[in-house]
């Protein structure tokens, strides 16, 4: 057991810090369009320094970074309050999927523009009728004259309005049990048969979109991983997403706790015993989830397989972040309902934490069944 960074890890961090100090682009401009351009520009800079697609093999423009190095990267970015990249889903999911399951032609075609944010990617998995029950999705793809014709609806798609490519899972064979018969496609968003509608959330923002497909076309060469293997391809993508996100979310949570502590001090509530108990408990939970995520990284690096830690971390994170934003409202006291530029948004936004990316109920099922070996209900 050694919780210090190895010399290589240390070197990686020092180099990154130095680079960040030089290259931090400051804060995002106002306005969605301007902010997105800003993120694209930032991603190009990262890509030039080979900090975009960090985990990708060097031959595809990455660094082949270890999970620990990725965690260090996320931590440093969070600490420096660096902007997001424009093409998050392409970097975290699209690229790795193409690298793992794609043909040589696909790698040649898609990887570079992901890195440079020339082509933005989005993800078309969820549908209105299939939330937790992903395998029940209904969007249909039928082969006709060497191309696929897709009809259906997707939901909870971020960046769809900016995206060139959609990682689409659709049903290609309705006659086999539901996990089978799915295929993973790369769909060109730039066609009239694909319509994007922003989906407004309870915060008032439209972070997500719905996608409507009415006989959209996908050439056969855009199948990833073979017809009928969509479930397996999608699942490995999701597992990578979860392993990568856990650590970063712990850091973001710790930063938010620090901000709330400032707020508590400013309001002169730092000696309030009830507030102290609540913030301390959240602080401890954030620390526990950071540590569980760290242990998980060690495990994956040893075994190659993401363990159950991902589920525990996601679940604990959503509980802790909801508790934190509720405490923030209580700290604001009588003024809590007044819309401010900070806590009311976070407070409302946090309600989705226990739903997005796997509901807490599903995560508990996973822990019970796959880790504890309890019998499945269904």
């Amino acid at each position: 057991m050694d919780l210090t960074l190895s010399p290589q890890e240390q070197a990686f961090r020092d180099e990154l810090r130095a680079w960040l100090e030089e290259n931090h682009p400051g804060s995002e401009p106002e306005g969605d369009e301007a902010a997105f351009e800003f993120r694209k520009e930032w991603q190009r800079e990262l890509a030039d320094a080979r900090y975009a697609g960090l985990s990708w093999p060097e031959e595809y423009g990455g660094r082949g970074a270890t999970l620990i190095e990725q965690a260090i990267f996320n931590e440093e970015m969070a600490r420096a309050k660096a902007p997001m990249t424009a093409n998050v889903l392409g970097l975290v999911m699209g690229g790795p999927v193409v690298i793992a399951h794609g043909t040589e032609d696909q790698k040649e075609r898609y990887l570079k523009p992901i890195l440079t944010a020339e082509e933005i990617w989005c993800q078309g998995f969820s549908e209105p009728e299939s939330g937790s029950d992903l395998a029940s999705l209904k969007t249909k793809a039928v082969k006709s004259n060497g191309e696929w014709v897709v009809t259906g609806q997707k939901v909870w798609t971020t960046y769809a309005h900016e995206a060139k490519w959609c990682m689409l899972v659709a049903r290609t064979d309705p006659d086999v049990p539901k996990h089978k018969g799915l295929t993973y496609f790369l769909m060109d968003m730039e066609q009239d048969a694909v319509q994007v509608r922003p989906l407004r959330q309870i915060t008032g923002e439209a972070e997500f979109n719905e996608i409507f497909m009415e006989e959209a076309r996908i050439p056969d060469e855009n199948v990833v991983g073979g017809v009928g293997n969509g479930w397996a391809v999608a699942i490995t993508t999701l597992m990578h997403e979860r392993a990568g996100l856990g650590f970063g979310s712990a850091i973001a949570l710790k930063i938010a706790i620090g901000e709330l502590m400032d707020e508590i001090r400013e309001r002169g509530l730092d000696e309030d015993p009830v507030i102290r108990q609540r913030i301390a408990q959240i602080y401890i939970e954030a620390e526990c989830l950071r540590l569980i995520a760290s242990r998980g990284l060690t495990q994956i690096m040893k075994t190659g397989i993401p363990g159950p830690e991902g589920s525990l971390v996601k679940w604990q994170w959503s509980d802790a972040n909801q508790a934190l934003t509720e405490l923030a409202m209580d700290v604001r006291g009588r003024e809590a309902p007044l819309v401010d530029d900070h806590w009311t948004y976070r407070f409302l936004r946090a309600r989705a934490n226990s739903i997005e990316g796997g509901t807490t109920e599903i995560l508990k099922n996973i822990v019970a069944e796959r880790v504890l070996g309890l019998p499945r209900l269904r």
Partner: protein, 339 residues
């Protein structure tokens, strides 16, 4: 002993329920909320029904009924989430009726009871009342300041729109000097306002629970209605426990206001503390049952959730009320009841 509505009370409830379901359909509520407006014509109808004066003496133009009847209306108004200046006006009426002098009552109550010259109530923090409902359309504003209260005419106050998360109610920031003090028992009057708010929270929670239960029966995942899974069904059961507890505590406090006022302070704090927690927890829990769709603006649930959270912090947070319960139940006053 009979812990049930009388026939008259039942009639008030069903009339209110029907009227509100008919006039404040969710599309209407949404339309008003998104515009940040009320509907004057509907207020006229409400006034015609005599609701604004339900609790006021007949000699002041009211119906001469009590807090229990007001609670029945408030619960239905919360259930319908009706955007209307009812609560604010009723709060002002309760303050005047129970803490005003004869003269103040005579001067102001009839206008409030008829709904024609409305009032509202705000709580001062360091000279400013940050969250006063409906101050722009009120003629008088009762400002509470640490156990004392004074009436200000709206024309004498600075009034600025204040955006809250609850767009179904119009809030304002109010600043005013002077005003005419209320000489009566301000705390007892405020306790009645707390009970009215608790009643609204009960209605909000009831509706959010019904939405969750309906959705749980209908939405299928893994080939079963999600309500067949204990993760969902036990969550719904928990909602019922909290809604029923909040309702029982609120009804009791209402009855106490009418018949046993010496127990009102404790009963009101119990009702407000429990109903505020229940309102928030039930609406948040209902959102979880709804999953992603419950997080969309398109779905109605968020209006209830935001109303619940906002109501919860008006006229004393759950923490403040629990601390008061501790005191009234026999523990001495706390030094550090800060929030």
């Amino acid at each position: 002993m009979n812990f049930d509505y009388t026939d008259d009370q039942r009639a008030i409830k069903s009339t209110a329920n029907e009227f509100l379901a008919n006039r404040y359909k969710m599309e209407k509520v949404r339309e008003l909320a998104e515009a940040g407006e009320y509907d004057d014509a509907l207020w006229g109808e409400i006034a015609e029904l005599g609701w604004p004066g339900i609790f006021a003496d007949e000699e002041h133009g009211g119906q001469g009924l009590g807090q229990v009847e007001l609670t029945i209306l408030m619960e239905e108004l919360g259930y319908a989430l009706a955007p209307a200046p009812f609560l604010s006006n009723a709060a002002a009426g309760l303050m005047l009726a129970h803490a005003g002098s004869d003269e103040q009552r005579q001067g102001w109550l009839p206008g409030i009871a008829s709904g024609e010259r409305r009032g509202t109530v705000g709580q001062l923090s360091e000279g400013v009342a940050p969250l006063v409902p409906d101050a722009d359309s009120a003629e008088l504003i009762v400002l509470l300041d640490n156990g004392s209260a004074s009436v200000v005419e709206a024309g004498d106050a600075q009034i600025e729109r204040a955006d809250t998360i609850d767009s179904t109610r119009r809030f304002f920031r109010v600043q005013a000097d002077g005003g005419e003090p209320l000489e009566g028992d301000v705390d007892a009057a405020v306790a009645r306002v707390e009970v009215a708010l608790a009643a609204e929270l009960v209605g909000v929670a009831q509706r959010a629970m019904e939405m969750a239960v309906d959705y749980a029966k209908e939405r299928k995942q893994f080939d079963r209605p999600i309500g067949a899974y204990q993760a969902v069904s036990h969550r719904c059961a928990q909602m019922l426990l909290e809604v029923e507890g909040a309702r029982a505590a609120t009804l009791y406090a209402s009855w106490v206001a009418d018949h046993e006022p010496e127990s009102l302070a404790l009963a009101a704090s119990m009702a407000k503390a429990y109903a505020a927690d229940a309102g928030w927890r039930v609406t948040a829990s209902s959102l979880q049952v709804h999953g992603g769709i419950g997080f969309t603006w398109e779905h109605d649930l968020h209006f209830f959730l935001k109303r619940a959270r906002t109501d919860g912090s008006l006229f004393g947070s759950p923490r403040t009320h629990r601390d008061r319960v501790a005191e009234l139940a026999g523990l001495s006053r706390s030094a550090a009841a800060a929030v």
